[in-house]
């Protein structure tokens, strides 16, 4: 694995060009959707001579994948497909990903890069407490653990007290789960009188499937005494492992020999230069069952220019800065949850648990309330002090979002902790889901 991680970038580009040529032809010949879409756009799948030529190909969206539910996007016969995953269909129909044996092998190898970045291998005990099932987190991490030769414990999510016992007694060295679940484990352990920083043996956590702030990372690292690596991936292109942070924690290295990344302006579709923020678009290089050509992830990030100090030559994406579909429209203003996060992380007086509630007032106007849990670092011993802080947070949010927010301080542990994803936004407006 070291060889491909340190290959000269020209070598990686050769692999990408050869792979993309095959992928577009494979899609055109085996998937009716791509044939129609390429033909309509006047894109000749045999015309690719350079990586830039891919820009002539049309995009594929999540809606396209939904429209072809269940097997319409498969490029191999079902007899070749060994496993299926589905993304949660919160807005209706799910999207389906199929994996041949080759696809499963790549997946394990991609996730195992995270274990490699943590300088791990067969002497590690990998504790997987992402949910196992249709969600790609559990099995993706599991295959990564197997590929790296580590001892893999398939805990799945839930039963937190048992997780804590196993972490303590089995001496797990690497934990894979969502960042909020890692925090839940740490807090529950502390409540049980177990100090995870001392009683666990963790060296690294590979955490993904939801965004987390730098403050949240520092909190986790302090509580669990380990190193947090952010992992990115999505069912539509494979699952976790498309990009993973190395020990430097300065951007996520794409698995560029398996995925080709472009950053586009989400409004015009135009490809943006390195360093500029935009929507991540992915093309698979060697997926068999569910290849994608220019899939619009709706994730906002940028390509980090320059080389990484770790020596890995694969380009890095920045940490995901929001999702185009998480965007809230409040009183006609676009609001990204990451903008709220940026403001909140500067206030030590409140914890990293907060929640935004959007509702409609009696005049049918949108009304936003932010609830934040009081920290012990805050001298809240007078009403004036509490009001001052509420006003200050509110003013900073107003500046950042251009939307008025009522701030309400609440007691610790009153904002729901979930064993899956953190629920940052509650939208109670009628007709909005």
């Amino acid at each position: 694995m070291q060889e491909i991680l340190h290959a000269p970038h020209e070598k990686i580009e050769e692999i990408q060009l050869e792979g993309i040529k095959k992928t577009v032809i494979q899609c055109y010949e085996n998937v009716a959707f791509y044939k129609r879409s390429f033909d309509e756009a006047g894109f000749d799948p045999h015309s690719i001579k350079s990586l830039e030529d891919l820009q002539k190909a049309p995009f594929v969206t999540k809606q396209d994948l939904r429209d072809n539910y269940p097997y319409g996007m498969f490029a191999t016969p079902l007899s070749e497909v060994k496993e299926i995953h589905m993304s949660s269909g919160t807005t209706g129909v799910a999207t389906v990903g199929g994996y041949t044996q080759h696809d499963l092998d790549i997946w394990g190898e991609c996730f195992a890069r995270g274990i490699e970045y943590a300088n791990g291998g067969k002497d590690d005990v990998v504790h997987v407490c992402y949910g196992y099932g249709l969600f790609t987190g559990g099995l993706g991490a599991h295959y990564g653990g197997l590929y790296s030769g580590a001892t893999t414990i398939p805990m799945s999510a839930g039963n937190t007290e048992r997780q804590i016992r196993v972490l303590k007694e089995m001496g797990s060295t690497i934990i894979c789960c969502t960042p909020s679940y890692a925090m839940h484990i740490a807090d529950t352990a502390l409540e049980m009188g177990i100090d995870p920083a001392r009683d666990f043996h963790l060296r690294a956590g590979i955490h993904g499937a939801e965004p987390f702030s730098d403050n949240f990372r520092r909190d986790l690292e302090r509580k669990l005494n380990y190193h947090v690596l952010d992992v990115y991936g999505l069912t539509e292109t494979m699952g976790p492992g498309v990009a993973i942070e190395c020990w430097e924690q300065n951007g996520l290295h794409l698995a560029e020999d398996h995925f080709y990344a472009e950053i586009i302006d989400p409004n015009t579709g135009e490809v943006l230069p390195d360093g500029e923020w935009g929507e991540l678009v992915l093309t698979t290089i060697d997926r068999e069952a569910s290849p994608v050509v220019r899939y619009r992830t709706r994730d906002i990030t940028r390509i980090l220019p320059g080389e990484c100090a770790c020596g890995c030559t694969h380009r890095r994406i920045d940490r995901i800065h929001g999702r185009t579909d998480d965007m809230l429209i409040i009183r006609g203003v676009n609001v990204f949850p990451s903008q709220i996060e940026d403001v909140m992380k500067t206030f030590d007086q409140v914890s990293s648990w907060y929640q935004i509630e959007v509702d409609t007032d009696h005049r049918s106007l949108d009304m936003v309330t932010l609830k934040a849990e009081v920290n012990p670092d805050f001298a809240f011993d007078s009403v004036a002090a509490v009001e001052r802080l509420q006003k200050e947070i509110s003013a900073r949010l107003k500046t950042a979002l251009s939307v008025g927010v009522k701030v309400k301080l609440v007691e610790p542990k009153t904002i729901a902790r979930s064993e899956g994803k953190a629920k940052r936004i509650v939208d109670l407006r009628k007709g909005i889901k």
């Binding site: 849990e373 009081v374 920290n375 012990p376 805050f378 001298a379 809240f380 011993d381 007078s382 009403v383 004036a384 509490v386 309400k408 301080l409 609440v410 007691e411 610790p412 542990k413 009153t414």
Partner: protein, 142 residues
Amino acid sequence: MIDQITVFLENKRGRIASLCRTLGDANINMAALSVADTTEYGIVRIICSDTAAALSALDAGGYRAIKTKVMAIAVPHHPGGAADLLEKLDDLDVDIEYFYCFSTTDDMAVLALKIADPASAAEASWAIEKAGFHVFDQDEVE
């Protein structure tokens, strides 16, 4: 200066009762309990026998509690007694964030006072003593 425990509570039915029960179960005796409330939350101020034990009982019970230093001052129990003290503080230019009465006997009442600027608290304490009021130490309330 003496220790005061401040607890941030949501304004919910039964919340303060369960707070008192938590302290009672931990065998903590309260010398004072005062609440500054708004429609959404209340700030509960407690002076009690064993501050450290009370704080750890509250922490374990999931309450957000902090320790604050306040000044406890004896005032003569007669009409105008408190006014004398407050006027003196005004003369000294000492800003008070809040105060409450926490114990009374036949001839004396004790006021707990939070001085807005903690840096000026020591100086204010000295000036108040000089004006003839008794300022309590922690061991006198335990």
